[in-house]
Subunit: 151 residues, 2 copies
DNA sequence: ATAAATGGGACAAGTATTGTCATCTTCGGC
DNA sequence: GCCGAAGATGACAATACTTGTCCCATTTAT
C-alpha cells in the first residue's frame, strides 16, 4: 500500500521537467544528478514515461527528454499510473470472482469509494501548479533563512 | 499500492466475526473453510489480530477466537493497519530526509492529503454496519434469484 | 492424561523491487 | 561517411516481500 521508488523517481523527474519552460530538452544524467536518482535506473523509468507519451525522448548528440504535453494537462496520477499501472487498492476491484462473496460484500464498495477519492486527489492539481508552488515555497523558505541568519 | 492477501484475509475474517452476536467464539478452521483462506496462513493472521487486541483467542478444547471489542467500534482501517502496519502512501511521509527536497516539495502535501482522505474513508463505516449491510445485500440478491427462477 | 484448539518458529517457492552492466540504436556535427 | 554523444534495450543479480507450508509447543476443558 505504498508508492514504489519507481513511482517516486518518476514524479521527481516529471516535476523537474515541469519547472522548465515547456519544450526545454534536458538530459537524463542531469535529472539523475539533481535528484539523487541512479542514472541507469532513471533511464528505465524515462523509457516508460516516453512509452506512455508523457515525455518525448530524442537520441543522439544534443538529445534528451522533454514533456510531450504542457504540464498544465498532467497530474501526479498520470505519472504514477504510467510507471506502476492503473491503481487498484484492492484485488477484488481488478478481477471478478477474486473474493468468493464480492457480489454482495460491502467492503468491496468501501474500497471502491476510497480508490475513487484517492485518484481524485492525485489528479486534483496539475504538474505546472505543483512545480510552481514548490518553487515558490522553496524561495520563501530560503528567504526566511537569510533573514534569520542576517538578524 | 495495493492491499495484500494478508490484509484481505484479515478483513474477511473480521467481517465474519462481526456478523455473529458479540462474544461468540468461533474456530479458525471454520473461518478458513467458509472464506477459502489457507488455514495455517490464517492462524498467523489471527495471531496478529490478537496481538493488536482486535480479537481475543482462547486455546484448548472449545477454544477459538472472538472480537475483543464490539464491531461498532472497529473499522476496516483498524484491521488493515493491525496486520500491515500504519498506512503511508509515500515514503516521504514516513521518514524525514527521504526526499532531498521534502521541505518545500508540494507533491509531499498532495500525498499527505490523499493519505488522510484514504484513512478517513476506510474508517467511515464500522464493521457492524459493513457486516449488516453485506448480509442484507446478500439476502436481496438471493431473493431476486428465487423470484426469477420461480417465474 | 488426553484430545482439541491456538501460538510460533523454521523453511521455502515465487514474485516484485531496485538496481547494474554491456550492448545497440539513433542522431548531429565534422 | 565517421565519430562521439545521447537514449533504448535486454540480461543479470541482490534483496526483500509475499504467501504460504510444516512441525512442534502451549494451553485448556473434560
Amino acid at each position: 500500500m505504498q508508492l514504489t521508488m519507481t513511482g517516486e523517481y518518476a514524479v521527481r523527474a516529471m516535476i523537474h521537467l515541469s519547472t522548465l519552460p515547456f519544450g526545454t530538452i534536458i538530459q537524463i544524467s542531469e535529472v539523475s544528478k539533481e535528484w539523487n536518482i541512479p542514472e541507469n535506473f532513471l533511464r528505465k523509468i524515462t523509457a516508460q514515461l516516453a512509452g506512455a507519451d508523457l515525455i518525448t525522448s530524442q537520441r543522439g548528440i544534443n538529445g534528451g527528454i522533454r514533456l510531450s504535453r504542457p504540464p498544465e494537462s498532467l497530474t501526479v496520477l498520470d505519472v504514477v499510473e504510467a510507471v506502476e499501472g492503473k491503481i487498484f487498492l484492492n484485488k477484488c476491484l481488478i478481477c471478478d470472482g477474486f473474493c468468493p462473496r464480492d457480489e454482495w460484500c460491502q467492503v468491496h464498495t468501501l474500497w471502491e469509494e476510497a480508490q475513487v477519492k484517492l485518484k481524485e486527489i492525485l489528479s486534483s492539481k496539475n504538474l505546472a501548479q505543483l512545480a510552481a508552488d514548490t518553487l515558490k515555497r522553496r524561495a520563501e523558505i530560503l528567504e526566511a533563512r537569510q533573514q534569520t541568519s542576517a538578524a
